[in-house]
Structures are given as structure tokens and as C-alpha cells.
Symmetry: C2
Subunit: 223 residues, 2 copies
DNA sequence: CTCAGTTTGTTCCCACGTTCACAAACTCTT
DNA sequence: AAGAGTTTGTGAACGTGGGAACAAACTGAG
């Protein structure tokens, strides 16, 4: 039973728990304690228990959790027990990698079309799918009932692609372009910025090695 | 100028501000208010001002911020005014895309080597670099002073690659493999899981459209 | 100089998330 | 059946982050 809304921080960790459970199942583990699962997921056991308690009472005191059963419950909560058709727009290096990424298809997501505005690329076969012109977007969305779109275009094209996606009826967008997207209410956007993550690492790395902050006026490399 | 530690949430947004400032500079904007910059970065203006106040007082009341000056200060704070040599391990589809990703090189990060354990791929030219055997890792780290490593291998290999990186002296790791990495204290790991993001979108999407699962206790969409 | 207008930096308060600690509930042994 | 040993689920304390609101500080006009 899920009487209240699940906290956002918890939702973000559910996929991690799911991965950990899958990995336990591969090792033929039938039952696990919150401590074991927490270790496998890389979190605190108290946090794990509180997270799971938001979904319901799926464990047994004194015993632990049934791995298979818990996995199903989490998958159902996320919505992975149903089929999610996905379109990917922008088949450059990254789009190419995403189309071939097994982590998508293995978790209920099904890439139904690859779109690119560049007419030179169209017809090319990537991951078993032909690249189709971007103009076919809305027809494809209608035909397959696509609700989720992935943007892997250059930053300059991202907002325009996003607008077309929204017009076509897509309500959830995963954006890999380094560009802020503005969308109407009711549409969800999640942003993955590869270089941001590196910059955050660089910040901490700098703090590790350099105790004092000198202020040389050298502009250095800024771009 | 920065007496106290900068909050983690703020650090995570600094790259976003940097992007917004770059974009403003391209439009020949010399000065901007917190309101303008916040809009460009997709955040609340109060949050932006509080974030920037953690770095120091770089604005002028009644006027706003000097775009060029603020950009330099943020870049310096993150550490982008220095050079960051990076190695990428695992040159599959994703590693290939990362090697070609312009967002890395344009921000002070310099890919010095591409490594792969598969001997069939070695010598292959990707993004102007020859793929080298993984065994050369520690020599390369020593030679170039590499502090940051990127893992783009399959999940099964990730922990082993991580261990070798730590042994070689790398202290910051960006992990794209869907696998929890355990590292000694003092080593930072950031994880980017492409399929997790999709799963989070699916959760919200499910909540938007489908009110009825086996237990219909949820009032439905509140957006 | 003074006053009106603007925008930053900061304070206060609330909501959310994390962690500790413990009662409740289960298993197993005797 | 009872007690010892486990482990979950949760209440309470604590810390972090977000947003409104305002004082401080600047510009520019008269």
C-alpha cells in the first residue's frame, strides 16, 4: 500500500535498489537483510529501510526481504512492469551509444525510432533501426504511443526538438544536450550533463590537493 | 574570499551557471541581473544569489553582475583555470562517444589516453588518440599526472578497473558503468546511470496517466 | 545633496532528507 | 511455551537546502 506520495529522493534510489536486487538474484540469493542490500546498493541500511517503508511493508522482521518479491514490488512501483516505447532524437556519437545501450532495453524500455534532422544520415542502420527524418516525430509518437523522448542533439537544437516533442504529445524528456529546456507545466524534464559531473569532481579534487587558494590573474582555460 | 565550505547543492549548480554565463557572453551581454542569469540557468533568482554569495561578493547592488568577471570567478572556484588530464577506460559505444564529446575538451579537461582491455581494439584511432592496452594505466597516470579517471566499461569489469585506477593514484572517478564502486576514503566517485534517469521519468509518467494499479488508494496527478 | 529606483547579499523560517535508536515482530532452540 | 537472538519499520532529533522578504548599497536625475 502506498497511501502517501513517495519522496523524490527515494524515487531516485529505487533504480539502484533494483540493480542491487538483480545482482543478488544472479548470485542465487533468495533472501537478504537490509544490511546486505544496503551494502550492495552503496547506501546506509537505515536509509534503505525508510525508503522501502514508503512502498509498503514488504519485509519480514527477524528474517529480511524476499529478493524476488521485493524486486517485483519495486519494479511495479517504478512502472517497469509495463512497456515504455521511447524515441531518440539526434543520432551523433552519443545518440549512437544510447541506441545500443543494453540498460535501456533490458528494463522495459523499447526504442521504437531513431530520428535525426541531418538528411545525410537517414536510412543508416543503427542498433537494428533505420534513422528516420525528424519530421516523422509526431506520426511515430501517435503510432506507438510514445510518452518518453530522449534528446541527444547539439545544444543549439535542443529547445526546438523539445518543443516539437511536447507538441507531439511527449510528456517526459531525458535531455543530454547541455542546454536548459523550458517546457509547459505537466511535462517532466531530466537533464544529464556529462561535463557537469566532471566539473564537480574537479572542484573536489582541487580542494583535496590545494589547501590555499592563490589568486593569480591568469585567465587560463575558460570555455 | 571563501572562508566556509561551499554547500554540495551549490557546487552541483556552478557548472550550470557557467554554461549560462558563456551563453550570455556569446550574445554580447556584458552585465546581467540575478534575475536574468537565473532564468538562463533555469533556477530561482533567490537561490542563484545565495549560491553566488557562497563564493564571495562578486556583484554590484543596483547594477548586477559583470558577466566576464563572474564567469572567471566561478571557473576558478571549480578549478577550471587549471589543466585536468583525464583517462577514459572502456572504449565501447559510450567510451567512443565520451572521447569525442566536445564538452570535455572545451572546459579544461584534456583526454590524454583511451584504454581498453580488448586487444582487438588496440591501435584503433578514436578522436585522434590510439587505443592503448589497459596495462599501461599506471605509467600513463604517472607520466601525465592524471587525477581523474572515467569508467565506461561493462558493469562486470568496473570494480576491477576502479581498483587499478586507485592503485595508480587516481583520486576522482566518473563511473558510467551500472555498478556500485567501493573505494578507500579520500577517493571520490560520481555515478552517472543512464537507465536510472529513464526509470525516474517512467515513475512520474506512470503517476501522471495511470491512477489504477491493484491498489487504487492514490488520488492521482498533482502537478 | 537628496530622493526615488534598482539590485545584491543576507536573515529568517519552513520543508525535506538523513541518521540514530528502539519497540514490534519474527525464528529458532531448549 | 518461553526466552534468546535477529531484523524490520518508525518516531524523534538533527542537518541541509529552498524561498520569501528585507536591509544595505549602488545609480541617476533634479
Amino acid at each position: 500500500m502506498s497511501p502517501t506520495r513517495i519522496p523524490e529522493a527515494t524515487v531516485a534510489r529505487l533504480p539502484v535498489y533494483l540493480r542491487a536486487l538483480n545482482s543478488l538474484l544472479e548470485g542465487d540469493t533468495r533472501t537478504c537483510s537490509s544490511e546486505e542490500l544496503a551494502t550492495a546498493a552503496g547506501v546506509n541500511s537505515a536509509k534503505l529501510r525508510k525508503d522501502l517503508s514508503h512502498l509498503g511493508s514488504y519485509g519480514t522482521r527477524g528474517v529480511g526481504y524476499d529478493v524476488e518479491y521485493l524486486r517485483y514490488q519495486i519494479a511495479r512501483e517504478i512502472g517497469l512492469t509495463q512497456d515504455w516505447p521511447v524515441v531518440i532524437v539526434g543520432i551523433g556519437n552519443l545518440g549512437h551509444a544510447l541506441a545500443n545501450y543494453s540498460g535501456f532495453t533490458s528494463r522495459g524500455f523499447r526504442t521504437v525510432a531513431l530520428l535525426d534532422a541531418d538528411s545525410a544520415r537517414q536510412g543508416e542502420l543503427v542498433a537494428g533501426l533505420k534513422i528516420r527524418p525528424f519530421t516523422e516525430l509526431s506520426a511515430i509518437v501517435r503510432e506507438h504511443g510514445v510518452a518518453i523522448g530522449v534528446i541527444a542533439t547539439p545544444a543549439a537544437a535542443a529547445q526546438s526538438v523539445c518543443d516539437h516533442m511536447v507538441d507531439a504529445g511527449i510528456r517526459s524528456i531525458l535531455n543530454f544536450a547541455p542546454s536548459v529546456l523550458t517546457v509547459p507545466a505537466g511535462v517532466d524534464v531530466r537533464m544529464v550533463d556529462l561535463s557537469s559531473e566532471l566539473q564537480i569532481l574537479a572542484y573536489h579534487e582541487q580542494r583535496k590537493s590545494a589547501p590555499a587558494t592563490p589568486d593569480p590573474l591568469d585567465p587560463g582555460v575558460v570555455a
